[in-house]
């Protein structure tokens, strides 16, 4: 079970009460707490208390450069964030527009490649699997410097390849400027993102292998062709995997930061198309060291992320297939 399924199933189990427990059970429970105490301390110190403190910060005027001049300003930071700072909404829109482009493409590519790599007709399957996974092992920063070279409009190989295969004059200053052209930038980012779908491919592969083969045999007897079998058996059976990848993808995109920070300087260039929410947050919280406003921005991100995740989980029962619901 993936941790995503775990959340839905964990609720159903029975409850233990301290006063109903025998001494032996209490002894066991005590040891259970001892073992997990490390996490509880860590959770309090690095999650719960910072979350609460973060809310506390958001009602302060707290510049890190002036630690002696902290003032209580009420909801001023929140007002500024929600009604004055246009870049908040702009960066949120940028994040969602990019998510709407890149998430579906990423999911389709990961599933498509998994189907290809699972095909009985593919010669040298293990080698192909390794090689397709390989780029996911390249440290992101190194990958980005390589990509910035590949996407270079004059010396990059992508433009040379396009010009060589299609004849379109892609090379040069008037050619395809992947990282400078607002209408191309998300395509470039998506291509880079697709490079790292190795984990999603492997999870999809495992999902494909767990589909019972008798379903395919039955469909074949009924005369279903390849596309029909894909659409009516494979895809419904791997919806839990798609769901898992979707949750992880969404969480990752809310934190999307390194790519625009490295490739476009973290200042929104070109024309604010790369001013993702995390970039805006980073600029305020750590660039300007404005702890109060930064904390408010972090909280807004938490709320939006929470709502989206809940919506996604709520939608799961309409389209995600779970066998043996009773267990």
């Amino acid at each position: 079970m993936s941790f995503v399924d775990e959340v839905t199933s964990a609720r159903k189990s029975r409850r233990l009460r301290w006063r109903d427990m025998s001494n032996l059970k209490k002894y066991e429970a005590k040891w259970g707490y001892i073992f997990i105490s490390i996490w509880i301390v860590g959770f309090l110190a690095f999650y719960l208390i910072p979350m609460v403190a973060s809310f506390g910060f958001s009602v302060l005027d707290f510049q890190l450069a002036k630690p002696d001049d902290i003032q209580f300003v009420g909801l001023e930071n929140w007002r500024r964030m929600l009604f004055e700072d246009d870049l908040v909404w702009l960066s949120m829109r940028v994040t969602f527009v990019f998510a709407l482009i890149t998430l579906p493409i990423g999911l389709i590519v990961a599933l498509g490649l998994a189907i290809l790599l699972n095909s009985e007709f593919l010669v040298g399957r293990d080698l192909f699997r390794t090689l397709f996974y390989m780029p996911s092992m390249v440290p992101l920063i190194a990958a980005l410097f390589i990509w910035s070279g590949v996407l270079n409009s004059q010396s990059g190989w992508l433009n040379r390849l396009i010009e060589f295969t299609t004849g379109y004059p892609a090379v040069g200053l008037n050619g395809l400027r992947w990282l400078d052209d607002p209408s191309l930038i998300y395509i470039a980012y998506t291509y880079i993102g697709i490079w790292g779908v190795g984990n999603a491919i492997i999870i999809n592969l495992a999902g494909l292998q767990s589909v019972p083969t008798d379903l395919y045999e039955a469909a074949r007897v009924d005369g279903a062709n390849w596309f029909r079998r894909l659409w009516s058996i494979t895809i419904p059976m791997v919806t839990p995997v798609i769901f898992y990848n979707l949750v992880l993808g969404l969480v990752g995109l809310l934190q999307y930061f390194i790519v625009p920070y490295i490739l476009n300087g973290g200042n929104g260039y070109p024309e604010n198309t790369t001013r993702f929410y995390m970039i805006h947050f980073f600029t305020n919280a750590f660039g300007y060291a404005d702890m109060g406003y930064g904390a408010a921005l972090a909280w807004l991100m938490f709320i939006v992320g929470m709502l989206l995740t809940l919506a996604l989980f709520a939608s799961a029962r309409y389209w995600v297939y779970y066998e043996a619901e009773s267990s």
């Binding site: 860590g42 593919l122 390249v138 992101l140 920063i141 190194a142 004059q154 490295i262």
Partner: protein
């Protein structure tokens, strides 16, 4: 279907079956060829950036900038004659042969060439426009880009920083996660499910959300810039690792633990001498995950270490490098390749653990 046909035993159907199988075999070969070629095509697009990185890291700056230069790092061939350098060109002749000759005397309509293999021979007159000729090149990788990239930014120091951070963090993250995972997998206690759901939901919580007060706290403790803010939290376990190890512990049969308990072993002893020795592959997988996470980590080191140039890991160091040598793409590519070599090597050797690990957490 074939079995029912065979049971009829008539010679005619047997023949038809044979023909059918041959045709099916043929079709299968065709499909195999098609599918594999598709995979090869996609793969070449997939790994193209890596090839670009390797090839570019071996070029000179001029070879990268020249749009007519070949894909591979090739240098123009020159010949020394009478104390001067002459460029070698591929020169076509009327009889269809192409010879590699050094351009000796340039002319508008005709030029004089010399044979680089036989410099003392008579110069060769050639009719035609020399500017339209292709320069002869030979593959010559500029290996010195690597040593230059290594020394200019104290690459060894950064590599050591990353290695140190990854290793210490790995020890903390794996040992703490194993202890917590044992608690969640073997003991019943009130609020266990609630606590477990809270644990798992922290996977989805972006770490940046808590970063502002945490950062202010470390600044207040006067620990910025330093490694402490990055390493200390590792020792308090993290949700992903705990979940992973718990899944694995749940698959270990309980008989041996029961026996150990009867023999009087306490929970810690049971954990240490029964559970851990059986968890080798899972521990290896989770250690690798952490190692790669740390090798990649950027946001943490960026905010906690930017002020300390000598302490930055390779990820943040590469951005400094990029800032200084923006006009030297060959050095940037060389540094990037050096950064990815170690993770890639580890991956190739430990692939099996790795893939198993991803499947355990991702699949039902």
């Amino acid at each position: 279907m074939t079995t029912t046909l065979l049971s009829e035993q008539s010679a005619e159907t047997l023949e038809r079956v044979a023909a059918n199988t041959a045709r099916r075999k043929q079709r299968e070969w065709l499909v195999k060829f098609g599918v594999t070629s598709l995979a090869v095509l996609l793969l070449s697009l997939w790994v193209m950036p890596l090839f670009y990185g390797v090839v570019t890291s071996l070029k000179t700056k001029e070879q990268i900038a020249d749009p007519k230069a070949s894909i591979l790092p090739a240098a123009a061939i020159t010949v020394e004659f009478e104390g001067k350098e002459y460029d070698v060109y591929s020169v076509p002749f009327e009889d269809g042969t192409v010879r590699e000759l050094a351009l000796y005397k340039k002319g508008r309509q005709a030029s004089t060439f010399i044979d680089p293999n036989n410099l003392s021979a008579e110069p060769i007159e050639w009719e035609g426009i020399w500017r339209q000729l292709d320069q002869a090149r030979v593959v010559s990788p500029t290996w010195s880009n690597y040593s230059e990239a290594w020394t200019t930014v104290k690459f060894g120091q950064m590599l050591w920083n990353t290695f140190f951070y990854a290793t210490v963090g790995m020890i903390g993250a794996v040992s703490s996660a194993a202890i917590v995972a044992y608690g969640f997998s073997r003991f019943e206690f009130p609020f266990k499910n609630l606590l477990f759901i809270i644990l798992i939901s922290t996977i989805i919580l972006p770490p940046q959300v808590t970063s502002v007060p945490t950062y202010a706290f470390w600044v207040w403790l006067d620990m910025v810039p330093s490694w402490w803010p990055l390493i200390i939290p590792m020792f308090f376990s993290n949700a992903y690792n705990v979940f992973f190890l718990r899944q694995f512990f749940l698959t270990i049969p309980r008989e041996m633990e029961e026996a150990a308990k009867i023999d009087g072993a306490g929970p810690f002893r049971t954990f240490w001498s029964i559970i851990l020795p059986q968890s080798g592959p899972a521990i290896v997988a989770i250690s690798l995950f952490h190692f790669f996470f740390a090798w990649n980590d950027f946001f943490g080191p960026l905010i906690y270490l930017t002020g300390a140039r000598d302490q930055v890991p390779i990820t943040v160091g590469l951005t400094f490098f990029n800032g200084i040598y923006a006009s030297q793409p060959q050095l940037i590519q060389a540094a990037s390749i050096m950064t990815l070599v170690i993770p890639l090597l580890i991956f190739f050797f430990a692939q099996r653990y790795f893939v198993q690990g991803i499947v355990i957490t991702g699949n039902k």
